[in-house]
Symmetry: C2
Subunit: 171 residues, 2 copies
């Protein structure tokens, strides 16, 4: 399986901590392997690691990672999610099955990012949310497989039409 890393560019502490947490958890739930965040953010790291510990899987987070160097040294393709990009379906047809670095901007992204990316991809050309854009992109890229994976953590949610059913390990 190709490796999928999400790279969050322009993260501001504490302003973006909450939305970046959503970005990270969406990455994990929809099939990415890792998130890298350009600014150091210990609280964000702890929140994401805590979810991984309880709900399982091997998703990883690193913060304080330079975006320019990460893009330059990435061995694989770089996809930049932006409302200005080409339509999702057209881009997906061109993206090869290689390791992917997916850029998700927090604020206005430097023009360089558009130039350095192999693909600038729009999940619709309306302003909405980078959280939703990442979810849709991963869902389409992996044909819905991301969401169907099992995580085998110490907490397992049992799907239920009427209420909360949770299984917890006694450990």
């Amino acid at each position: 399986m190709p490796r999928i890393v999400v790279l969050r560019v322009g993260h501001r502490v504490p302003r973006d901590s909450r939305v970046t947490t959503h970005v990270a958890l969406v990455g994990r739930a929809f099939g990415a392997d890792e998130i890298w965040v350009d600014k150091k953010d210990g609280g964000l790291e702890r929140r994401v690691k805590d979810v991984v510990e309880r709900f399982g899987g091997s998703f990883r987070i690193r913060t304080g990672v330079g975006w320019r160097r990460s893009m330059r040294e990435w061995k694989g393709r770089v996809v930049h999610l932006t409302m200005y990009g080409e339509p999702l379906d057209e881009a997906l047809a061109k993206i090869p099955s290689e390791d992917l670095l997916i850029i998700v901007g927090a604020q206005k992204v430097p023009g360089e990012v558009f130039e350095m990316a192999d693909f600038n991809v729009a999940v619709g050309n309306q302003p909405h949310s980078e959280v939703a854009a990442l979810a849709l992109f991963l869902d389409r890229l992996l044909g819905g497989e991301g969401l169907r994976r099992e995580f085998s953590g110490s907490i397992t949610v049992v799907p239920s039409a009427r209420g909360k059913v949770v299984e917890e390990d006694a450990t």
Copy 2:
């Protein structure tokens, strides 16, 4: 076309204003007609109205709307998005083509919401983001049609593989 309204329950000002903005814009971009928010939030209203004014369409926002009364008086079906619900695909097969009120919780949602909803629906049973859950739900419900709509606002983004191309009315 059935009417689709998103109802945000448990919104806290200012803590949730930013994430609720994402929820509202995702609602607009993915095919909902309106968002109702349970707490009054003038800043949120202004931000959403500003996007509608510039980018077009007829999406509406109301804040300070009681959730219990809204659920009780809704003529149509009520869908509650929750990681504890039944799987998306199974639920979609049962949801009729009627007006839909879609509940999106900001914090822990009262147990009553689970009971009052016609459908408790999980976009995956892992913790991620209500922003992503709403996007995926609307995308699947409308078969991707939401994202393909034209909005004809004074600003139109022209899809581009290489950079920002925007058309603006001179008005």
